[in-house]
Symmetry: C2
Subunit: 96 residues, 2 copies
C-alpha cells in the first residue's frame, strides 16, 4: 500500500477527530444546560443511576471494534469532564 | 423549568452519546487500518509527532465549552485506546 493511501487514511482520521470534538462539546453544552435545570429544581447534579443507565445503553449499542470495557472507560472520562464543567459553573454562579 | 424539559435534554444527551460512540468506533476502525498499512511498510505504530500534530489541530478547532486541557485529556485517552487496539491486532497476527 502506498503512502498516498496512508495519507488518505490520516486525512479521514483528522475529519473524524473534528467530528468527535464537535460531539464532545455539544454534549458539554447539554450537560451545562441540564446542570442549570437541576440547580433550579434543587436537584443533585451527580446521578449515579442515570450514569449507569447511560453506560448500559451505550454498551448495548456498541458494535466495536472497541471492547465494551474500552468504550466505558472513554465515556467515564467524558462524564467526569462534564461533571467538572457543571461544578465550575456552580462555583462561578456562587461568586456572582 | 419543567421535568418535561429535563427529559427532553436527557433525550438529546442520549442521542449525542450514540453519535459519539459511532465516531469513536469509526476512529478505531481507521486506526486499525492505519496500523495494518504501517505494519506492511515496516513503520512504527506509535508516532508521537503525528499525535502532537493531531492534538494541536484539535485544540485549534476547539470552541468550548470544554477547555483545551480537558479536550486534550479526553483525546489522549481515545488515542491510547486506539494504540492498544493496534497492539492487540499485532499480537493476534503473530499468533496466526
Amino acid at each position: 500500500m502506498s503512502n498516498e493511501e496512508l495519507d488518505q487514511l490520516r486525512q479521514e482520521l483528522d475529519e473524524v477527530n473534528l467530528e468527535l470534538l464537535k460531539s464532545i462539546n455539544k454534549r458539554a453544552q447539554l450537560v451545562q444546560e441540564i446542570g442549570r435545570v437541576k440547580k433550579q429544581q434543587g436537584m443533585n447534579r451527580f446521578d449515579p443511576v442515570r450514569e449507569r443507565d447511560m453506560l448500559d445503553s451505550i454498551t448495548a449499542h456498541n458494535d466495536g471494534p472497541f471492547e465494551n470495557s474500552t468504550v466505558q472507560h472513554i465515556f467515564k472520562e467524558i462524564f467526569k469532564a462534564g461533571l467538572e464543567l457543571q461544578e465550575d459553573d456552580h462555583r462561578k454562579a456562587l461568586l456572582v
